[in-house]
């Protein structure tokens, strides 16, 4: 598969595609169950899992469709396995009802979306970031989602592991938003493989079965339903339920359930937020981007800096919940004139940016949606317009 070398401090090195780095990250995180359905540009993840999981005694299954795939990984997680699926926009669209089910029953799963152009079959082999909002609002109902991102192959590896940690910590689905470029691009990855131990462990209840209520939250508001078949017999349902897991129509219980689903994430969003700054200390023009758009933006910032333009970049590693506070802190620190949102879509990330800034700072945008990556020059042009505006 890859050219294996050892780094100076003893970690294995690989030169691989983003999708293969995702496989390696998942396995390192302890993923032992994958169910999926082939779709470009995510298929290499399923193929990698089909090859690697049996070696580790884990389970791979190609299901009859994406609805079945997401259901199978939720079932597997309920039975105690760390589990994941990977797909692209059309597959996510099919999975959404059951992703909502996983929010409701509070089941940790990782869902990788290697984004391609849409709507519909769209642009199967071309990159896009047009599912950014889908990862926030995709399924029906009120809920709060978590989505992480990566803009290098190394980060695909790291953020896949992170996705499992976050999913387990909050006992909820986590999206990893990649795109065709990141998924298929090859770069060097340093694997964190000093030990073969799975890093993410499943939480197990500390109280005896007689007293067990699956949805009594600890102080951090997160419930970790016990794995099936371990003596804790209880009910899980997609209906709004009480602490014991049974359907309820009592207003106070309904409110408690829905607020807990939201607050367990929002009260701890600082633990999820992650971003990378480039040249922001004294920046007047700050680009906000993620994934492959952030790669173009980095190129743009480097060129602009050579010409003494004070440009900077905030490369988001967590998209939802939107990291408004850390971005604002950065912007407050620098001598900001404009914010430029760079995206491979018609403008999605720009909405939370607008909400965050509320007119206090000028916002410009660069959008490309023809299936091709943004060129640094396109971003440079917009920064220049801002300078002369």
């Amino acid at each position: 598969m890859a050219l294996n070398r050892i780094s100076s401090d003893g970690h294995p090195l690989m030169f691989v595609q983003g999708n293969e780095a995702c496989v390696q990250g998942a396995l390192h995180a302890g993923c032992r169950f994958f169910a999926g359905y082939p779709i470009t540009p995510s298929t290499e993840i399923a193929e990698g899992m089909a090859r690697e999981l049996p070696k580790l005694g884990g389970t791979f299954i190609q299901m009859e469709d994406e609805i079945a795939s997401i259901a199978a990984i939720i079932g597997a997680s309920a039975a105690g396995a760390r589990s994941m699926t990977a797909t692209s926009g059309p597959g996510i669209s099919l999975m959404l009802e059951n992703i909502g089910f996983a929010y409701m029953i509070q089941m940790p799963i990782v869902v990788v979306n290697v984004q391609r152009g849409g709507p519909s079959t769209g642009l199967p082999t071309k990159l896009s970031q047009s599912d950014t909002m889908q990862a926030r609002w995709g399924t029906h109902g009120d809920f709060t989602s978590i989505a992480l991102a990566a803009s290098t192959v190394q980060e695909v590896y790291d953020m896949t592991i992170r996705a499992f940690e976050v999913a387990e910590h909050f006992s909820t689905p986590v999206f990893l938003l990649l795109d065709e470029l990141i998924g298929h691009m090859r770069e060097k990855v340093v694997l964190n493989k000093h030990d073969n131990q799975a890093v993410v462990k499943h939480a197990f209840p500390e109280i005896p079965p007689e007293w067990y209520l699956p949805y009594t939250e600890s102080l951090d508001l997160v419930s970790h339903p016990a794995p099936f078949g371990k003596g804790y017999r209880y009910n899980m349902t997609g209906l709004v339920h009480d602490r014991a897991g049974f359907p309820t129509s009592i207003p106070a219980e309904i409110t408690e359930r829905l607020e807990t689903l939201r607050n367990k994430i929002l009260k701890h969003k600082r633990e999820i937020w992650q971003l990378r700054e480039y040249y922001t200390e004294d920046a007047k023009y700050v680009i906000i981007a993620y994934g492959s758009a952030a790669r173009a933006a980095r190129g743009a910032v480097e060129s602009l800096r050579l010409k003494k333009t004070k440009a900077g970049l905030i490369d988001l590693k967590s998209i939802w919940p939107f990291p408004d506070e850390p971005i604002k802190e950065i912007l407050d620190r620098c001598n900001i004139k404009s914010v430029i949102v760079a995206e491979n879509n018609m403008g999605q990330l720009i909405h939370p940016v607008r909400e965050m800034l509320g007119g206090s700072v000028k916002i410009a945008s660069v959008n490309r949606y023809d299936g091709h990556p943004l060129e640094p020059q396109e971003i440079i042009n917009v920064v220049k317009e801002e300078i002369y505006a």
């Binding site: 169950f33 169910a35 049996p54 070696k55 005694g57 389970t59 299954i61 299901m63 009859e64 469709d65 609805i67 079945a68 795939s69 259901a71 199978a72 990984i73 939720i74 079932g75 597997a76 997680s77 309920a78 039975a79 105690g80 396995a81 589990s83 009802e97 059951n98 089910f101 029953i105 099936f228 078949g229 371990k230 003596g231 017999r233 209880y234 009910n235 899980m236 349902t237 997609g238 209906l239 014991a244 049974f246 359907p247």
Partner: protein
């Protein structure tokens, strides 16, 4: 003092009763049959996962004291597939209505049968959509009435037994709520079977199917089940015309074939031994 039956030990009766089911509905009898089967086989409650979709039938998880998962409409089988693959040692039961299993969930049903994964599927066939108030189901007989077939059903119905056999299920049986002892026996056999097992149980929905089709009394529907049931052995000597509208009951297939999770375990063994070489 209330004398508790053995069945009570398998029910979450203290808090969860009465059930949502209408008086005279057949689903409760089927719940009893499942419990008796598990009890007779001495299977520990901890080792049973009962998974359902959405519908009146799919409300069963609330009431039985197993590991219970009430999922989304039509999708119980793939959820159960995930559980079974991680815990092949557990008895995984899917309870499904006919719409749940054959309309929205039809694809999952045939693929689980094809894989021959060790899931026991209890298909509660009441010929109608109960939960949503009496719309046509893939099992509604031609000419019968439903709220979305106000002029009589023109959609030919599925035969779940034939469908399961064609797809590769290795244990396939049909019974009725009227013959509840036979039903319990079939469920017992299905639970002991390695591989995908289907027990289709003809049930009564007096409130919707019954009322819409001039059999509002549950007794009428049970009598209809009794009068129209033909044991498989007898049916073999009857013509298709004679069997029109009849319920053929019995075990249609009982076959020893490698179960899917065993097949997967063998694959893992083979891959791992090749790694060692």
């Amino acid at each position: 003092m209330l004398e508790l039956s053995d069945v009570h030990r398998y029910l979450r009766w203290k808090k969860r009763f009465p059930t949502v089911w209408c008086p005279g509905c057949g689903i409760g009898s089927i719940m009893g049959a499942i419990i008796r089967a598990v009890m007779d086989l001495n299977i520990s409650k901890d080792d049973v996962a009962l998974v359902s979709g959405i519908g009146c039938s799919s409300r069963m998880p609330v009431y039985v004291d197993f590991n219970t998962l009430h999922t989304t409409h039509g999708r119980a089988i793939p959820f159960a597939t995930g559980i079974k693959l991680v815990r092949p040692d557990m008895k995984v039961i899917v309870v499904s209505g006919d719409g749940d299993a054959l309309a929205i969930g039809g694809n999952h049903f045939i693929h689980a049968a094809r894989r021959n994964i060790g899931i026991t599927m209890i298909l509660i066939n009441n010929s109608i959509y109960g939960m949503t108030g009496g719309q046509v189901a893939p099992t509604t007989p031609l000419g019968a009435f439903a709220h979305t077939m106000p002029y009589g059903n023109i959609d030919p119905d599925f035969n779940p037994v034939e469908l399961a056999m064609a797809a590769g299920a290795t244990f396939v049986a049909r019974s009725t709520v009227y013959s509840i002892v036979q039903t319990t026996n079939y469920i017992k056999k299905a639970l002991q079977h390695q591989g995908f097992s289907l027990v289709e149980i003809i049930s009564q929905c007096p409130v919707l199917f019954g009322r819409l089709n001039k059999m509002p009394d549950p007794k009428q529907l049970l009598k209809w089940q009794k009068d129209n049931s033909i044991p498989l052995a007898k049916a073999k000597n009857m013509s298709p015309e004679e069997l029109e509208g009849k319920i053929i009951t019995g075990i249609f297939r009982e076959e020893d074939k490698m179960e899917y999770t065993q097949r997967y375990a063998e694959l893992v063994k083979r891959v791992q031994s090749e790694l060692e070489d």
